[in-house]
């Protein structure tokens, strides 16, 4: 992606106030047998803690089923956390009343993976954009028209009058995703959650969409949580990267530090698995860890990655859950290999 302006994380965000704080978040789904009897829990999120600062982009990477989307949905309030707390602008979400939730929802936008599925097929573009405003108490027709015009200009769906009466199936994939972004932006949020926003799009459209998101971010000083399994898009886009495995965040780092030197064996393997269009790949074998992602109903004891880890320390990794070790200044890894960096 050569055309994408490289935006390196130069400023230190730490002096800023965190817009979102997630503390020890657990989201478990109950599994029932025969409709009544509890058979166990799927631990989709098992102790996730992080801060997100204003105007910052954080990428969350990890393979399918590691809890990335559950994290997004829990922050959005679609899933109810079992334990732990989410603070938005120092306000605990669990203490919000109805109006509080309305304000919170107006401050976050949600961009989904499948743009066609994310748009109700029986609503016109105009109605799709009006719905969030109607629900969140913006009833003034002129204000609605003004916002629709503004977001459609921002996502470059022009001419606007042509698009308003159209239905989602009349739009191309890229246009659909722009409409999804427009819907996320219509409540003028402070934070966006983008759950694999480009993974279902054509390679040619991906760059446009990512550039669009970046443009929106700089214009509105948005905080963005960018969830992906595709590491090739991460480096151009985010200031920090969190790596998730087995419902936990196992590595937190600035993008530059992580790209230079991934610390956790899983992150290393993830980078190893990223494909580059290089003819040399024909001759080399990738060092990909064997085995399968852990069951979230009965997670392995100790470090969740230990059954697949090539650098396992017997008696430690398979017995005790690794705490977070501060390896470098902006680089934290939850791995026993770095136990000396306390």
């Amino acid at each position: 992606m050569p055309s994408l302006a490289v935006k390196l994380p130069q400023e230190q965000p730490k002096e800023q106030k965190p817009i979102l704080r997630v503390e020890n978040l657990h989201t478990w789904f109950e599994v029932r047998r025969m409709g009544f009897f509890k058979a166990g829990d799927v631990r989709a999120l098992d102790g996730v803690t992080f801060d997100l600062y204003e105007g910052e982009t954080v990428s969350i990477v990890g393979e399918s089923g590691c809890g990335k989307s559950t994290l997004a949905k829990t922050i959005l309030g679609i899933n109810i956390p079992t334990k732990g707390a989410i603070y938005f602008e120092d306000q605990d979400l669990s203490t919000l009343d109805k109006q509080g939730w309305r304000n919170y929802r107006s401050s976050i936008g949600y961009i989904q993976q499948d743009p066609y599925g994310a748009l109700p097929p029986f609503m016109s573009v105009q109605r799709i954009l009006e719905e969030p405003m109607k629900i969140n108490g913006i009833r003034n027709k002129e204000e609605q028209a003004r916002r629709i015009r503004q977001v459609l200009e921002e996502v470059k769906l022009a001419p606007i009058e042509d698009f308003l009466p159209k239905f989602p199936h009349m739009l191309s994939g890229g246009q659909q995703q722009r409409l999804v972004i427009a819907r996320a932006m219509i409540l003028e949020p402070k934070m966006l959650i983008a759950d694999e926003p480009v993974s279902m799009l054509d390679a040619s459209v991906r760059v446009e969409i990512l550039q669009l998101l970046q443009g929106l971010q700089t214009k509105h000083n948005l905080a963005i949580i960018y969830i992906t399994h595709d590491l090739s898009t991460v480096r151009y886009f985010s200031e920090r990267i969190f790596s998730m495995y087995g419902a936990k965040i196992i590595e937190k780092s600035s993008t530059s530090a992580l790209l230079k030197e991934p610390l956790h064996p899983y992150t290393q393997a993830l980078f190893e698995a990223t494909s580059d269009p290089d003819a040399e790949n024909l001759k080399t074998f990738k060092n990909v860890p064997a085995g399968e992602p852990p069951s979230l109903m009965n997670p392995p004891k100790g470090c969740r990655f230990h059954p697949r880890c090539s650098q396992i320390i017997k008696g430690l990794c398979d017995e005790h859950i690794p705490p977070e070790f501060q390896v470098h200044e902006e680089h934290i890894a939850a791995c026993w290999l770095y136990k000396d960096h306390q």
């Binding site: 309030g77 929802r105 109700p120 969030p132």
Partner: protein, 446 residues
């Protein structure tokens, strides 16, 4: 809106849909015509009948248009009234309050069949002395047959056909035959001008007497009459709005409620889903018809009560399960998730996001359901559980059945309501199948 006009454009390519739609539109026009020309209270009163409602119509008459197909022309009813045409009556004052009123009721009879009945209705105004009327019958070939000599009350009905003395005078022949038959060939009608001469004698100043002669025919109106002289057209006309309303309300009411219940079960899940499914399983095995018969027997036969029970029982059934499975899929779609993220409430999600997605699947189903409910109403009526006051197609069939219409040759009595039922069913079925093909394109290849 765009989707709707698109559906109409596609419908035009199916001849069966056009035919079905035409039938439905014609039925709706017929229903509106019935409601406008015969208001509800009038329809109820006409159908209940009574002393003065159906005096001048024949019993069990066939439809009048059948004459086009008969070689021997059958008579229609002839009514002559002196009150309508004062020239039929000549009054001569004899002085002293006494006067004569000679009424000459003259008609041409050129049919090949005999009338079914003869009657004279006399009305008189007087204080104490009743007028006297002497009647005689003059045939085209000049025979004069004295009929009766009556002293007339305010309202006097003289049924010539039931006058046993006249029967004796005619040599045992029924008057409606004997008065019209050729004496040399008793099976044949003498065609020509018949006259009923009624010579009235009034005994008071200002007292009057009037007569009307009704020669009941064998044919009547568009649809014929039933055993109580009621014009079947009334029931055919009024049956249309009743059938359409019953079918539509039952189909729409039950399928919409079914869909809402299924959507609520899926959306709320948990115990709501469990309760709705268990109730559904129990109600599904309840037999509809026996329950309706019990309601009709023990509670009420009003069409509205029956409609309510039909909707209530129609809500549950296999439909709720198939809608449920569709909604389970819809519930997981991305746009529902997005709607939750921007804060849509449960009601809004069910009605604005889930149901609109399923409605296209519902429309053909409910169009084909309409005739099923129309037939159900007819079935109940045939079983004698029809609404006691409203005339409906099913009640016509019931009357026809109890009066042995098919043994007695009153085929029109059965065929007319039955063909209307079939045409209504056909119209909705043809439209429904075409809609099914439009909304479920996979069927098109079949």
């Amino acid at each position: 809106m765009k989707g709707l006009s698109n559906v109409f454009r596609q419908l035009r390519t199916y001849p069966s849909a056009v035919a079905g739609l035409t039938i439905i539109v014609l039925m709706v026009i017929l229903a509106i015509y019935a409601l406008v020309t015969i208001p509800y209270s009038e329809a109820v009163q006409l159908w209940r009948g009574g002393d003065n409602v159906w005096l001048e119509t024949p019993r069990n008459a066939r439809p009048a248009w059948l004459n086009y197909f008969y070689k021997d022309k059958m008579p229609e009813t002839i009514v002559l009234r002196t009150t309508d045409d004062p020239s039929l009556k000549t009054t001569v004052d004899l002085g002293g309050g006494v006067s004569t009123s000679d009424m000459l009721l003259e008609f041409d009879y050129n049919y090949d069949g005999f009338p079914t009945e003869l009657a004279v209705f006399l009305t008189a105004e007087y204080d104490s002395a009743r007028p006297n009327v002497t009647m005689k019958w003059i045939t085209p070939d000049g025979r004069e047959i004295p009929i009766a000599d009556l002293s007339v009350r305010a309202q006097e009905t003289y049924r010539i056909s039931q006058d046993t003395r006249l029967v004796r005078r005619l040599g045992g022949a029924q008057p409606e035959i004997g008065l019209f038959a050729d004496p040399t060939n008793p099976g044949k009608v003498v065609k020509g001008t018949y006259q009923l001469v009624a010579e009235g004698l009034v005994f008071e100043e200002g007292s009057t007497v009037d007569a009307s002669l009704v020669v009941y025919g064998q044919l009547h109106g568009l649809a014929g009459t039933d055993h109580r002289r009621r014009d079947i057209t009334v029931a055919l006309l009024w049956g249309t709005p009743v059938a359409l309303a019953f079918g539509l309300v039952a189909a729409v009411g039950s399928s919409l409620t079914t869909m809402m219940l299924a959507a609520a079960a899926v959306w709320f899940g948990g115990w709501v889903d469990w309760v709705i499914r268990r109730i559904n399983e129990v109600v599904m095995i309840l037999p509809l018809l026996p329950i309706l018969i019990m309601v009709g027997l023990f509670y009420s036969r009003s069409i509205w009560v029956i409609l309510g029970v039909v909707i209530l029982l129609g809500i549950f059934g296999s439909g709720i399960l198939s809608y449920r499975s569709m909604f389970l899929q819809v519930k997981e779609s991305g746009y529902i998730e997005a709607a939750r993220a921007y804060g849509a409430g449960s009601g809004r999600i069910i009605f604005r996001y889930m149901i609109p997605k399923i409605v296209p699947v519902l429309i053909p189903g409910f169009v084909t359901q309409v005739p099923a409910y129309v037939f159900l109403e007819a079935t109940l009526s045939v079983l004698g559980l029809g609404d006691p006051v409203l005339p409906t197609w099913g009640k016509l069939l019931n009357d026809a059945h109890t009066n042995g219409a098919l043994f007695n040759g009153y085929f029109y009595w059965v065929l007319e309501p039955a063909s209307l039922l079939i045409i209504a069913g056909l119209g909705f079925a043809m439209l429904g199948f075409a809609l099914d093909r439009i909304f479920n394109p996979r069927l098109r290849g079949l």
